[in-house]
Assembly symmetry: C2
Homo-oligomer: 446 residues x 2
């Protein structure tokens, strides 16, 4: 179908890095692109916790990849899973057995959560990386209140009204703050046997402060705002076990159990296993150690970008510093990887990656956030308004911006969260013992 | 907690009938209500096919039951499944073993789809009754196009681009019309290897015309509009087998196979199995045969309303006629059951049910619908605009009305459907062979 002299760029993963790389190659003559992703949508991950907590519905933060790229005629989108990469034969293998050859490869398959070797915790403490994670978490949180209302006595009720978030990075802080808001405001007056406002939200952090990536004064501000929202922040609490009954922590040399039926994992991240497929050095988190131009050793035609890359920013003064795992970093890497492919095609040398830092932002809950823009640091309502503005601005598509703005405005004034549907599928596998019929195959529900 | 003299009304199911009954009892002194439902949301079922076809997102047509009833202080909402009813002991049993006593009972647990004894078809031809059905169907339809794009050759592609809808009642007609629209318009320009507009949409109907419940002239209009949208209508086609490869039909005495990977079941409805629990006569579809006041024989304190009831409308002239299975019927029954409970409490005789018929409406697709308002029958754009107006008007909540209106307006002019996320869970169990990882438990995704 295409002339043989076309240069074929294969991009694995359509997160911020992969999408940006594909778009950067839109107008390149003689380049055709194949973009492979396991899901059919690009996800605006910074707002995923809003789906998990019922504030937004999925389509507001997820857009079909092939719709986003429909006008880019040189791009073919395939919904498939890459199972291995053969960098010497320059091809990848899909799960269905198909082989795709490439001239240049950009690996942007991102990261998932890591339980630090305790994979048995996954079942009791789900993390938040995909839309499905968000649906499951939403169901888990809302069902906990339903179970508390059904519970026979106070002893049975307590663990359903105790919510534990593990890890006080941006995701953990957002989740804890929003869960406190749901308990105190959203569910007000809706129950007859329990008072949702009595629910406890605990945020456990192994280190000595929340939001480690921020300056200590902002960490302190964040902790104060969390407390004001009703979250119990416990720093220096190391999780040693998680099971169906709750969490066991080590705090100040003592071990104690926190009975809870709703535990959220926001503590660890591990790179996509495709990184190890490349057969080049990776760091402890499994991220591929890339060269200055984001390529892997000995293979200038293979680049790794985004959360999968252990990349350094090459500053003007000759020093290097690590690139944080945030969306601007992934986008900038995607752009450079695309530019370096074009440079190579034209016989020019590749450029080294330099990260432009626009600052760091974290939201905590209603009117609460922290912002560090380098020159200026602020918190509270101004930071929250700034966070709102930035996130709406960067959302995919005008419709989404408009709908999200409307959802946030109505929920700010009404304290409501409209996306509170518990889908039956999202409950499967949960040991809540309510619905004996949830495991009946589709179409045979009784 | 409540005075013992309070009359306890238990309502099973929060569809149109159950919800209306609960609301009708809001201001009754001395009455307390418990509403039990398997899901946490009331579903606006007439628009479910829009969720299945990506036009609307779930929260637009589903509202949390306890939020809808938060101000009704005499109502307690429990999310639980009723597994049996003991009408002599006046109690029901929940799946978790709890027993709930009642003074009056309203059973409104509705209907599900029926495969007429061929339950093995369910796996290959899902129906559409719940939000989960809608998510699965959405995933199935969208994945078919993805699989077609991935297919190695035309022979492998064809069954993925053939869509079969079985049953040309309102749901089947809506599904077929909308699927044709998706293939011809929504997905335009998004694929590189296939042309989605080449997809075939077949609507199979065993009887001699579509929309049997309507007058023959409107059936004919509907068939013409379906053809114009690109749907192949095949009446007199009896389905004899469905498997992973497709559908086998008997048409004009001949058997033929239709290879298809996407088959939708819109042919049969069966009443909720709770009806049989009551130990009173049921009709062939399992619907409970109720008396004029909607109660069951010998138990004036037990009423059955909505799709579970085989009810008669008692006309002023002394004749009776069956009540159609539509939402106004369910609502009117719910209201009467509540009124009869109050009447009994005050020692007054119950009233007989009389159905007020506001007419019948069915939508077919873009600018296509039929309407029968008794005095006047019309079709095409006017019927479609009328259908839009009615459905927006009856939607739950102002936000939903507004969002749905906006979604419809944008999708009418852009031909787009925003809710095109394929959730991974919705794919589970599908034999598409793409995602080997879909069965990994949550949190362990690699």
């Amino acid at each position: 179908m295409q002339a043989t002299e076309e240069h074929h760029v294969l991009i694995i993963g359509c997160g911020f890095g992969g999408l940006e790389a594909a778009r950067a190659l839109a107008d390149e003559d003689g380049v055709r692109i194949t973009l492979v992703d396991r899901s059919n949508h690009h996800l605006f991950q910074p707002l995923l916790y809003q789906v998990a907590t019922g504030g937004l519905s999925a389509p507001s933060i997820a857009a079909p990849i092939r719709h986003m790229l429909r006008k880019q005629r040189n791009a073919t989108v395939l919904m498939a899973e890459v199972v291995s990469i053969d960098k010497d034969a320059r091809c990848v293998l899909l799960a269905d057995g198909q082989r795709i050859d490439y001239d240049s490869l950009i690996v942007a398959s991102g990261a998932t959560h890591s339980y630090f070797g305790n994979d048995q915790w996954a079942e009791h403490a789900p993390g938040l990386k995909t839309l499905d994670d968000a649906f499951k978490l939403r169901a888990k949180v809302l069902l906990a209140f339903e179970q508390a209302e059904l519970a026979a006595d106070a002893a049975a009720r307590e663990p359903w009204l105790t919510f534990v978030v593990i890890g006080a990075g941006p995701t953990g802080v957002e989740m804890a703050g929003t869960m406190a808001e749901i308990a105190r405001h959203t569910l007000k007056n809706e129950f007859r046997r329990i008072d949702p406002a009595r629910a406890q939200v605990l945020l456990l952090e192994g280190s000595d402060r929340v939001l480690q990536a921020f300056k200590p004064d902002l960490s302190q501000k964040a902790a104060q705002q969390l407390a004001a929202l009703g979250v119990q922040v416990r720093c220096g609490a190391k999780v040693v076990a998680i099971d169906a009954e709750g969490v066991e922590v080590e705090e100040a040399g003592q071990r104690l159990c926190i009975p809870s039926r709703t535990v959220v994992w926001a503590a660890g991240v591990a790179a996509s296993p495709l990184g190890r497929c490349l057969g080049v050095p990776v760091d402890r988190a499994g991220r591929v150690i890339v060269g200055p131009d984001l390529s892997i050793p000995g293979h200038p035609e293979v680049c790794v970008v985004g959360d999968l890359a252990a990349a350094q920013s090459h500053e003007r003064d000759g020093t290097t510093k690590p690139v944080p795992g945030v969306s601007p970093g992934a986008k900038q890497m995607g752009r450079l990887a695309a530019a370096n492919i074009v440079a190579r095609l034209h016989g020019k040398p590749p450029e080294a990656f330099r990260y432009t830092d626009y600052g760091a932002l974290a939201t905590i809950g209603r009117s609460a956030a922290v912002a560090d823009l380098g020159a200026v640091r602020f918190s509270g309502l101004p930071a929250w308004l700034f966070w709102l503005f930035v996130h709406i601005y960067f959302l995919i598509g005008f419709r989404n911006r408009f709908v999200v703005m409307m959802d946030w405005a109505t929920s700010y004034f009404s304290f409501q969260r409209h996306a509170r549907v518990i889908a039956e599928q999202a409950r499967q596998g949960q040991d809540i013992g309510v619905q004996s019929s949830t495991k009946v195959p589709s179409g045979q529900r009784t």
